[in-house]
Every structure is written in C-alpha cells, then in structure tokens.
C-alpha cells in the first residue's frame, strides 16, 4: 500500500466517522430532546428512564 492510498483511506474513514456521529447525534436529539408535543408524549417514559431532562 502506498503512502497515498493510506492517506486516502484514512480521510475516507474520518469523513465516514464524522457523518455517522452527525447521524447518531441527530437521532438522539430528535428522539430524546426535541420538545414537540407529539414526540415528547411518545418518548416520555423513555426520556425519564434514560435520564434525559424532560418537561
């Protein structure tokens, strides 16, 4: 493996990781923290049980 392919592989791994982190935080924010009434009611018990600030 040349230095260049190692560098390319590393960059693609970092961008994939950043993308996954962004998706993950997005999912947790929507399911756990957004205060819209419908979401809040549906996720109410889980938010309490998971220790998120609720209400």
């Amino acid at each position: 493996m040349t230095t260049q392919t190692v560098a390319v592989k590393s960059t693609s791994r970092i961008s994939a990781a950043i993308l996954a982190v962004a998706f993950g935080i997005g999912i947790v924010a929507i399911t756990g923290h957004v205060q819209a009434a419908a979401l809040h009611d549906a996720a109410h018990d889980v938010r309490h049980a998971t220790g998120f600030p609720c209400h």
Binding site: S10, S12, R13, I14, A16, A17, I18, L19, A20, V21, F23, G24, I25, G26, I27, V28, T31, G32, H33, Q35, A42, A43, D45, V46, H48, A49, T50, G51, F52, P53, C54, H55
Partner: protein
Amino acid sequence: MFTRILTSALFAGAAAGLITALLQLYFVQPVLLHAELYEGGDLVHFGAQELAPAVQELGGFDAVRDGLSIIFTMLIYAGYALVLVALMSVAEERGASINGRSGLIWGVCGFIAVHFAPGLSLAPEVPGVAAADITARQIWWGATVLAAAIAMWLIAFGQSWTAWGAAVVLLLAPHVVGAPQPDVFTGPVPTELGALFAARAFGIGLAAWVMLGGFAGYFWSRDETA
C-alpha cells in the same frame, strides 16, 4: 466505510435497545407509574390524613404506550451506537484493538459520558419533580456529555499527565459550575420512589451501555472483511 459503521451500529443498537427496553419496562416503568399516581394527585403523601399503602395496583403492559417506549429506546441506542462505532473506527485506525471484549470497556465509558456524568448533578427525574427551565437543563446536559466524552477519550488514549489532568478538569468542571436547579422544591412524590427511580435508571443504563459496547465491538470486528 460508512456502510460498515452503519451496519454494525444498527445491529448493536437494535439488540441492546430491545433488551434495555424490556429491562426498563420491568424495573423502571412500575416506579414511574407509581410516581405518576402522586404526580396526578391520585395518591397524596405529604400532609395526608391516612398514608397510601406502599404497594399499588399499577396495571400491566400497555401495548401503545409501552410499544412506543420499545421503539424509542431502540432508536436512542441506535443513535448512540452510530457515535460509538464511529469513534471505535477512528481508535482502531490509531492502533486500538476493537472487539466484543474491549467493547465492554467502551460501553462503560459511554455510560459514564452520557448517563452518569450528567446524572450526577441532574439526577434521573422521577415524574413530578421540580426542575429548572428545560432549555437550560438541556444545554447543561449536552455540554456535560461532551466534556465527559472528551475526558473518557483523553483517559483512554492520552499519553501524558497533561492529557489526564485535562480529563479530570473536564469531568469536574460541569459539577463545580453546577447544573440548573429549581428555585423551590415542589415534588409530591415520596423520596423513596424518587431514589429508587434514579437508582434503577442508572443500573439499567449501565447494563444497556455494557451491552451496546460489547455488541458494537463484536459486530464491528466480525465485519472486518467488508
């Protein structure tokens, strides 16, 4: 690479999330339902002429309410798994060994970062407790999780006392600054239920994260050829 992260994370998050949801329904939900009887005024603790018995009929499995809880728990842990597996992939590239066994330690660190660290000053809330403004608490919660997560990384992969010292500062700072607290206490729920709720939430949270880390490491290492 993104596909590999996504696959491992979804498998780990779904598996850990499903088991966690069942554990929560069995161990946490009855305490929550009991507390809601006090929150709604069906039971009165303080100042009552006659105290309500400590054992109450709480109803069984509610298909809609508990079904939604199962789905949301799986979603939350899938979200966490995406972050966890992404960080695992970065660590692996820097020489760390990622598998089911090392994943257990990742899970414990994840629990400390997103559950225990914020919960130390913003204890898991039983329904009915007095609390400060929700936005202020969410900002403090997010900042504390971020600080604790960076601290966990520094402790694990830092190579100097500077890094470890910074980790200690990051772990302590949010609690020295202090979490948003209510002006007055108005909770109608007996302290016994509040304490049990917090203890159960932490206990199931630890179990959830150890499973999530173990599964994430396992699925990630199995998918190595992809």
